[in-house]
Amino acid sequence: MAIKISAKNLNFYYGSNQALFDNSLDIEERRITAVIGPSGCGKSTHLRVYNRIFELYRDQRVTGELIIDGVNVLDPQVDVLELRRKVGMIFQKPTPFPMSVFENIAYPIKLHFKLSSKELKQRVEQALRAASLWDEVKDKLKNSGLALSGGQQQRLCIARAIAIEPEILLMDEPTSAIDPVATLKIEELMLSLKEKYTIVVVTHNMQQAARISDNTAFFFKGHIIEYGPTARIFTNPKEKKTEEYITGRFG
């Protein structure tokens, strides 16, 4: 199986506080990789290195290498806008832009591609269909994205991310702010999306990790304690910490 992302010895600092210690992780292409661990263990921080979103904040920095398709994307020479096109991100809370449903998808497309308005419409429809949202919103494309339900908003954000033809999707607890039925829909969606995209999902929900992921990484206090196929991690963990966490003894 091909390796899409290879993190090598990532150390991450908030000011003088170190949050990640020597994180090394190989993420397989077109698989769902779950990142689990107790709150504050560095799961999200780790994810936020992948599209360099942490760089928005003055006091956050990282050392180490992050190889995507053979290129160290932490190199300042790398075009960060292109990196973020290639590596989409879905957040814990849905983040529709303050514009119409249509514009929510069309806006990022227009940032990266020059399309005729017909092609643009097709691309928007494609993205909404891929996010299983088209049937629900096709009659209200002009309405505000903020007027959709929470679950719909989150799928809108997924559609927005895949509209610009990414290769990797980062999902930071994508269902933790959403009701159970909508959560199932999003999980089904993720399973269908992995045919095209490499997905890395941070989750608090261990059943979710077990249901949808192929590989699982267990984080604890900024260290990657254990990483392997999900089935093995959940049935036969090698590390005592992992076992304690997945059996619910802490976290």
């Binding site: 979103i53 928005l56 806008l81 989409g88 983040t95 832009f97 806006y107 505000s144 927005r160 991310a161």
Partner: protein, 311 residues
């Protein structure tokens, strides 16, 4: 029984306090209307579109003052809005020390009395405009040769006039617009900005397409506050606008504003001129008032259309 009575008195006091604002508003309109009756009787609505202001012949028209007011205000906002937006964008993300110092400096601009702006305008700005800025615009940039807008920029200058007044006003309204834009940018949820960067937006695209749209109501509120200030500002404008009761030909022309005309002329006015000045005052009040009403209405309409719960 006694307690009940004091409670009733207290209720009445509250009612009166609440009504004072409304009564004052009404009072302004009534007084200005009554005092300007003879002007409206003499000239009718023609007063608004006549540019004839001749106290000796007892002919009065409001157009030059209205045009001067609108032009200085528009120039002030055109200069102040981008400046305030850029400063707010930069300072919200700047290192805390720099951000604090510069932010307070901008806030303090609001503390400078307008007469100081006027004096500074007269003794510093006007000579700079005359010797450097306007020659640069005319002789180097040749802005007056531009098609269409060129004729409004003008070729002849003496430092005074609409443009100079607009610049002073821009500096005066800057802190108001800046303060509100800064709050709007700070109020944007960080995760929304991250989402914008996450799809590959640059800082500029995030600012204009996401932050600005998210806070559009606050932004418009800030602009309207600036607009209201600029419309009515008197003292600073008086010093630099040139105080000519003629129709301005271009932005370097000497002109007047409603507020400047009022401040300049009441002392020696009587009879019809006095009434004409009150009529001008009524026009200014109506302008400010309708802008506020339009702003409220617009904000209400946009929030209803977007179906938001945010207040």
């Amino acid at each position: 029984m006694f307690a009940l009575r004091t409670d009733r008195i207290f209720q009445w006091l509250c009612l009166i306090s609440a009504m004072i604002a409304g009564l004052l508003m009404l009072g302004f309109f009534v007084q200005l209307s009554l005092s300007s009756v003879s002007t409206w009787r003499q000239f009718g609505l023609g007063f608004l579109v006549s540019n004839d202001w001749d106290p000796v012949a007892n002919r009065f028209g409001a157009l030059p003052s209205i045009v001067g007011t609108l032009c200085t205000t528009v120039i002030a906002l055109l200069l102040a809005i981008p400046l305030a937006f850029a400063a707010a964008l930069y300072l919200v993300d700047a290192p805390p020390l720099l951000s604090n110092i510069l932010s307070h400096a901008i806030d303090l601009l609001a503390a400078i009395p307008s007469v100081i702006y006027g004096m500074w305008g007269l003794f510093v700005m006007v000579p700079i405009m005359q010797k450097h800025v306007q020659p640069f615009m005319v002789d180097v940039l040749r802005l007056h040769r531009l098609p269409v807008i060129g004729r409004y920029i003008g070729e002849y200058y003496n430092g005074f006039g609409i443009f100079t007044a607009g610049i002073i006003l821009a500096i005066m309204v800057l802190p108001y617009i800046y303060a509100i834009l800064r709050d709007v940018i700070k109020m944007t949820p960080p995760v929304l900005r991250e989402a914008a960067y996450g799809v590959g937006c640059t800082r500029w695209e995030t600012a204009k397409d996401i932050v600005l749209r998210y806070g559009i109501r606050g932004v418009l509120g800030g602009i309207f506050i600036g607009l209201g200030r600029a419309l009515g500002e008197t003292m600073a404008v008086l010093f630099v606008i040139g105080n000519l009761m003629d129709m301005p030909e271009d932005i370097f022309s000497g002109a007047t504003t409603i507020a400047a005309t009022l401040a300049n002329n009441f002392a020696e006015a009587d009879c019809l001129q006095r009434s004409a000045l009150f009529a001008l005052g009524l026009v200014l009040l109506l302008m400010s008032f309708s802008i506020q009403v339009a702003a409220q209405y617009y904000l209400h309409a946009t929030s209803a259309r977007r179906g938001e719960s945010r207040s």
